[in-house]
Subunit: 309 residues, 2 copies
Amino acid sequence: MTVVFFAAGPRAWEQYRDCLPEALAAAGVDARIVTEVEAADRAAVDYIVFAPGGVIEDFGRYPNAKAVLNLWAGVERLVGNDTLTQPLCRMVDPSLTEGMVEWATGHVLRHHLGMDRYITADAPHWDQAFAPLARERRVTILGTGALGAACGQALARLNFPVTGWSRTAKQIEGLTCVTSLEQALDGAEIVVALLPDTPDTTNLLDAPALARLASGAVVINPGRGPLIDDEALLDALDSGRISHATLDVFRTEPLPPEHAFWAHPRITVTPHVAAATRPRTASVQVAENIRRGEAGLPFINLVDRTRGY
Amino acid sequence: MTVVFFAAGPRAWEQYRDCLPEALAAAGVDARIVTEVEAADRAAVDYIVFAPGGVIEDFGRYPNAKAVLNLWAGVERLVGNDTLTQPLCRMVDPSLTEGMVEWATGHVLRHHLGMDRYITADAPHWDQAFAPLARERRVTILGTGALGAACGQALARLNFPVTGWSRTAKQIEGLTCVTSLEQALDGAEIVVALLPDTPDTTNLLDAPALARLASGAVVINPGRGPLIDDEALLDALDSGRISHATLDVFRTEPLPPEHAFWAHPRITVTPHVAAATRPRTASVQVAENIRRGEAGLPFINLVDRTRGY
């Protein structure tokens, strides 16, 4: 009997209490799920299901845990925990990717079409301003992991010319992949940031980077808050160099009510809703990794600690 | 020398004066384009390029014109002109289709994601409401012509289950095609109207039709104004049965400032911008039909007068 410690906290348990046992059974894993572990029983824990804000601080107390399975895609709040020496897997939920593609495609089209002026109009208007075609609109995706690649390809299918930037060279059908950040940013009209939060990506979109974008460019951030230098973004919006920013993620979440982003006329705040991990599909991923661990197979979505994702 | 009478009016001529001659030359047609015709020269006109609001009322005065080539996709303002007995072709501009796909996909995603609440928020908020996935959102396209089929397929590629309704049975990859209007409307959550304006389609979306949609459904009309019964729509919006309507086309355009649509909190008006005929690509279509006419080949996009489109 495999012992799975669901340590993501009681609120998460409410969402997973039905579908995680189902997924484990479907994967053929004979498991016992516990949500609390007495000190004497810690050595019996085989797998830890976790999420930031969960009930474990010292992972060293679970010496026989074969893996920590995170319910979030981002692991930046875990990789700094030195007690976590077990293999760490992040969530790559196919429905999370679907949701992100929908959110990113929707907001790119919103800015491409200039929808806001009609949505917020408070008086009759009949100003026929025609958007250019998507194929005339340069889009850049920063980050070409599972989410960035899927978003870039969805936009490319709508005819947007999409440049995808990543640190390591890649080939992704439909995208122009580059490893030069300057090349990715120069003249881009809509930028979508979908990078993980690592020391290398902090403040990637700083003042010099923003200055490379096309005049009037739009910045969309459904990735991680620290990717953008907040002050540099506010300066670029105030000067009009950047015409709008739609931000779903922030250095502090929930975004504090006094933060300048809320009241800025050129910023749209969405409350970290771009993509949700859905318990049903996420449970299938967790169960698959437990099945693999028990069968001696390599884990999927294993975090590379040297890269930080 | 083929004589082409550009009768779409002086404003249109400003847009076409460069690209139409280029397109005719590229098509290998030896043509002379005129924008005015003396009474004595009317019999010499081979083709008429036209648009509603153009400079011809009596097409009978051009007895030798082999075709009237409309610069608009819609021909409802022409088919009632009894003097127009020549073959009538409507515009099927590939860039018009592209623009329509972008507009329709963008507004479907906007409503699917519930963007407006964030775009119009005037105070800090952190209400995390997660949209269902596209694959859980039922979309119906009314009309599966060139525009409707392309929009439906773009939405299907984003995982929306799309039902396409047309009067005649069709098979379109990715869409569930039906000929029963009731079947198309029952339970639909987002409806996109992309039908031509004919006597058969007038007030297609009337009170009984709107009552079939899912509670809180959204109606999007980039097709033609008369497809919707304006009063029935207002009633359905006021009662909350329909949660929002985004309308790009109207019975009278520009939409009069006093019209109830402007001030309604659940209506977004866009000023007939969903798709623009672009002179460069439209000129290629016009030139191709003139080439065909001169070579004795059948015209493309010939209007069927009995159907009205």
